[in-house]
Symmetry: C2
Subunit: 258 residues, 2 copies
């Protein structure tokens, strides 16, 4: 069947600090070859845990602002301190959720800090420090490990790191890209013509976010399947690593809702 | 290959007013059977055009507010009048784009009114008047036409109608669901436990929006392929039509950004 397909890799272990995600992926593939046009979508928690981007609540000493917000919102002041440490700005605090702009520039609930699936009780998982750099490192490591390197090919699949973010006007969360290497984040049709030669309006497609959403549909949320292999996106996969997920962030001065 | 797959149907004609989308889909499938667990994702313009939700600019007499906004934003006052007619509220007008809350409750650019792919020059395509009802009608019509009806089965694939919406804090557009029949719009894991027995936080997945994004990746924007067949989402497909895309709209009083 032509078109698009996505499949979660079974056999990925629980990831812990210092582990090599690229090696774990190749082990899970169990000899199945990777190709340059494929996209490997990885749930960020696996990357964060491998990088040690984890905080034990017992090590956190909450400051006065964290204590105040925690009391208002019915949260653990230590968890709130971790969220504040990850945030440039708290945009809203309501119903126990802090909507933050993270140090990276992402707008999301609790600055992406999450307790679930952290691998240990009373431990919080942060977003990777620089998710685009994480994606580039994993891709480079795949390039080193893949047999194509020995063939002088040097190609590697694209690497996409995702997290689930809420939306301003719609219920529910959707996976979006927070780190990216080797894939166009946006497909720019502005000014191009449609099938009838009319100019397409406002057609600037967030294809990497669509790929992240696709990957999340291919796994069950409780299934410990952080890695999804996507085929059929060859047209967006690039030999160079490209601008990364940073290109998807709307700059502060273009935010229509401040 | 297990997992998720999506494929655009080739052979869909340009749709015009009064045509039967279900019949066109079955003709494009050319005898390939449809199954109850599949999802048919349809770009809304095909549905709008079939329903005659199209306005000729020559028939529009812009009022004073449309003339004022059009002058400010450098737009055709007749096109602005059409956008105003489709809107409950204009949230922002900036850089030639009106961010509106539509009569249905969707927040999107220009109330979903679009000139491209409209099938005729100087013609604008609106959103379907009641996209959930459109999805239910198309599903019911498929049920009537499918051979399974004769077998007393009565099952039909889910029908999903999509449009491309911009996002508050991220560049680019992503397809989201505006009409839905026979698929859970949201997958609610709130209060359920993750793989380690910890409570999952804020895990309420907009699976129908993820399916819409997946469908859009399976077609090229200029390819006149409004219909995409998705397989692998059986767990979200329901015999009853369900709450539709209306369930994805965040009510006004929960909008954090007013």
């Amino acid at each position: 069947m032509a078109g698009l397909s996505a499949r979660a890799l079974s056999g990925m272990p629980e990831v812990s600090a210092g582990q090599d995600i690229a090696e774990l992926i190749l082990a899970a593939l169990d000899g199945e070859p990777l190709r340059a046009g494929q996209v490997l979508a990885i749930a960020h928690k696996a990357v964060s845990k491998a990088e040690g981007a984890v905080v034990a609540l017992a090590d956190v000493d909450p400051g006065p602002r964290a204590r105040e917000l925690a009391a208002e919102q019915g949260k653990d002041p230590r968890a709130v301190q971790v969220v504040l440490d990850e945030s440039e700005e708290v945009l809203r605090a309501e119903r126990g959720v802090l909507i933050c702009r993270t140090r990276h520039g992402f707008v999301c609930a609790n600055a992406g800090v999450d307790a679930s699936n952290s691998g240990a009780p009373d431990t919080l998982v942060l977003l990777p420090r620089d998710p685009d750099a994480s994606a580039r490192r994993i891709r480079e490591r795949l390039r080193e490990l893949l047999p194509s390197r020995r063939a002088g090919d040097g190609t590697a699949p694209a690497v996409l790191i995702s997290d689930s973010f809420g939306r301003a006007w719609r219920h529910g969360q959707l996976d979006v890209v927070i780190g990216l290497a080797g894939m166009q984040p946006l497909d720019d049709w502005r000014g191009r013509s449609d099938a009838r030669g009319l100019e397409l309006q406002a057609t600037w497609l967030a294809v990497a976010d669509a790929a992240a959403a696709t990957a999340d549909l291919a796994r069950a949320k409780d299934s410990r399947e952080p890695v999804v292999l996507i085929e059929g996106l060859e047209r967006f996969v690039t030999p160079e690593d490209g601008p990364g997920a940073a290109a998807l962030m709307r700059p502060l001065d273009e935010d229509l809702f401040r």
